[in-house]
Symmetry: C2
Subunit: 497 residues, 2 copies
């Protein structure tokens, strides 16, 4: 039997790391803060990417590719942006190495110093808007609806695989519009696309909301977000979509001739999700036996295990079942390893989160049946072999749905409404929930007076931040939990990743 | 009418650049040597990538992702590799910017100097073999068949869009094997995959060959290549596959326990193709009217132009044709722009290389027919509207085939066998071919004495390099064109991109 992983209640962070490593999703690399995405992890990312890419294209976007490097001066062009992104970044100062004159390997060639340093993109608004200046002349060139899949780098001091890494993979949409309204609708549309993807594919319920000024993207006039709740009661910002107003158009002097033959600045949005979503996927569904992957994103949806080991009859039955499953577009593998026993294999496939396992044994075959086990509930049942494919097609849909409903129930159970600061602190501190030692407290719905000052004070006192002002918020008169000042609606607080 | 592009005979380089820009494939960026891949160019790359990715997966490979950065010391670990790749590269020395104390924007924070500089990967053998050390313990972990799609950076002084850029996109396969034979077979298999992709999808005929020691990848024991001939008589190295022996395993100390329970160094391959292929695609097929794209890779395979302009009847007919085409999996667009006249549109769609154009006019509709024009030969014909989809499905296959045959004829017509150095120089100098001013001379098939010295001397005298020793070479006794020393086979020389 393989060694078990750390249990959530004992050490949630270690449980997460155990899953990432044992399920073969990612690894640390020798390069500080950079991860290696292993084949299984990358296959899940490919499935996520393909679905998102399809959704982007269905909403009229096309892909392009912009340079990895940004001239240092570009970062300074937009006042807010430079504050947000010119801090911790990878700076290229030279373009050549040479043999060390003292014979110690290679050293930087001092003669190859760049005139202007280059920054490895932390995000691409600047380089893209510098390019859009050449592409946009008239209203006929708009809208420009472009996305790019890329790697970006933000120098991070404390990293966690997928959740926060110095280099990560993402997509960044950058659109240009003739009117404020159209740009705003685009930003909101992409928030809806992200929410739909999170819920329908990742089975991860999210709250759609607006960020406060303090939590806004550097350079945006408005940031829309989707926020999810992890099993340890902490929130995860899962995707953001920014209405950039005319800020980047002004910074890079991008104007267009409108239908009235007048020059106007272009309106902009940008929006992105990253490999961070893999962290969210893991922490939404997995359990103490390992990874749980929603069927729609699972690289392998069904695994067949011969019991007790491979043989001609079992092999023949497995082939038949695989053919029927593949005919229904289901991704299936046959575990014909001869070395390990079924018990070991069961634990391994559970660890790796394969949604459905089929056990095929000789005695069951004589009865014309196979055993089908689902990963989410661990339930097992016997099904006639000829009905297995149809049964499993339904089962995969049921698992997908169950994972979402289970996560939604958990999320809804962990939104606490509070009306004074004592209750607020108690909710956020996680007292009263002994199940997970590092329990984050869930979402706390409370009135806030709308000032950054109060927001920062609450963060200082409790480590909770305002995750968002929910889009579907009811208007409700109340008093700020900290200052008692009047408030027109509740906002969602949480400790966050 | 849109402005015509430069003609090949007048200025081949400018013709190439005109096509790249006018067909909307790519643009220079403000970052020296880095390109912007525009939506149309990127859509072709996506089609190429998807086909290659499928072929890699069908041959048992999986994708993963390794860090963008390589510690400087890693480059020095493999003696040949450091010579080849530690020259012109992007060097990261700092990880923070700060506000200039003198108020001039942002400057590099001198306190944020890295202990060890990082290099932006020029290729990933070193970082990957450092990782494989952790992944490989026993023969049961082998083979490891991994590919990654990534951006890489090689600092280039003289760049040309797609053909040679500082940053480019590529895939790099990195495999690990238990035996020499298996690694060698893998390297050869991937050369075959590349050749099949080049010929069947890009319609670009290639010669499969072996590189000489002098042209070998830095760190390889053997480099296999596919070489194509461009319309200006210069060769393009279109893809390479390397048998790395145990060089990287030794450099990074990667051993495995074999079946006999002994420690052995692992055998390796690596192989890659890049966005350079887009340059090859353009230069293989395009003409003085613009881009020509093989149908299998064309983002838009068919465009419908209403004559003289859109209207309800034409719109209805177009919808019907589009539905029939899409039902056959054909990518079609309707050009319903109201501003430009058909002649302008025809020229634009030719410039952009759309393989087939359908003209729908009222008078033709009354006769129940549409006009179909093919991009490769410019031939036009009338076809009954109900038969248009079936006709076009065949036509696309015929165009794909014609492009390949035409390019193959050109290539075969431009392989010159020479047996003395005067003829060699004449062939390579391009005298006698007045069609293209910068004519490169095509492939020259000649005997060579097998020494690097002679190879370099010939390059010095003629600028021609040995592109490869063709795999299917006939053995033939002869004398080196330069030294007269004995030779057992001819090799292919050419001036190259
Ligand atoms: Zn320089
Ligand atoms: Zn530091």
């Amino acid at each position: 039997m393989a060694k078990a992983i750390t249990q959530r209640k004992d050490n949630y962070s270690q449980w997460y790391l155990d899953i990432v490593k044992r399920a073969g999703l990612a690894d640390h690399s020798k390069v500080k803060g950079c991860m290696v995405i292993k084949p299984t992890g990358f296959a899940i990312w490919e499935n996520m990417r393909d679905e998102l890419d399809r959704m982007f294209k269905e909403t009229g976007h096309v892909n392009a590719y912009f340079p990895l490097f940004i001239p240092k001066s570009f970062l300074s062009r937009e006042a807010q942006h430079v504050e947000g992104f010119a801090k911790e970044c990878a700076v290229i100062t030279h373009h050549r190495l040479m043999n060390d004159p003292n014979g110690n390997g290679v050293v930087v060639d001092p003669d190859a110093k760049l005139e202007e340093e280059l920054i490895v993109r932390p995000t691409s608004e600047t380089i893209i808007w510098d390019t859009y200046k050449d592409w946009i002349n008239s209203y006929r060139d708009l809208p420009l609806l472009i996305n790019q899949w890329a790697n970006v780098v933000r120098w991070e001091m404390r990293t966690r695989l997928f959740l926060r890494t110095t280099e990560f993979l993402w997509q960044e949409g950058h659109t240009a519009h003739a009117t404020r309204e159209e740009a705003m609708e685009e930003a909101l549309q992409m928030q809806r696309v992200y929410a739909e993807f999170a819920e329908e594919y990742m089975a991860m319920p999210v709250v759609k909301g607006i960020k406060t000024a303090n939590e806004r993207f550097a350079g945006a006039d408005e940031t829309f977000t989707i926020e999810a709740l992890m099993q340890d009661g902490k929130a995860l910002q899962a995707g953001t979509s920014h209405f950039l107003g005319q800020n980047f158009a002004k910074a890079f002097d991008v104007k267009f001739l409108n239908k009235e033959n007048q020059q106007e600045y272009v309106w902009a949005t940008s929006w992105g999700v990253s490999t961070r979503l893999l962290g969210g996927l893991i922490m939404t569904h997995s359990d103490d036996d390992g990874l749980v992957i929603p069927p729609k994103l699972a690289p392998t949806q069904v695994v067949i295990v011969p019991i007790p080991k491979p043989g001609p009859e079992i092999g023949e039955a497995a082939e038949k079942v695989m053919k029927a499953l593949r005919g229904r577009g289901i991704r299936v593998k046959f575990d014909d390893d001869e070395k390990n026993r079924p018990g070991f294999k069961f634990a391994e496939h559970e660890m790796k989160g394969i949604p459905v396992r089929i056990g095929i044994g000789k005695r069951d075959l004589e009865k014309g049946q196979v055993e089908i086990a689902r990963r989410d509930t661990k339930e097992k049942t016997f099904v006639p072999i000829d009905e297995a494919a149809a049964y499993i097609e339904n089962l995969l849909a049921e698992i997908q749905n169950n994972l979402f409903e289970r996560a939604k129930q958990f999320r809804d159970d962990n939104i606490t409404k509070v009306d004074n600061f004592d209750d607020f602190k108690e909710a956020v501190s996680g007292n009263g929930n002994a199940e997970i030692e590092s329990w984050g407290g869930g979402f706390v719905s409370a009135h806030w007076d709308g000032t950054t000052e109060t927001e920062l004070k609450i963060k200082e006192l409790t480590k909770a931040t305002i995750r968002c002002i929910p889009l579907d918020n009811e208007k409700e008169e109340g008093q700020c939990v900290l200052t008692g000042k009047p408030s027109g609606q509740r906002v969602l607080f949480a400790k966050a990743y």
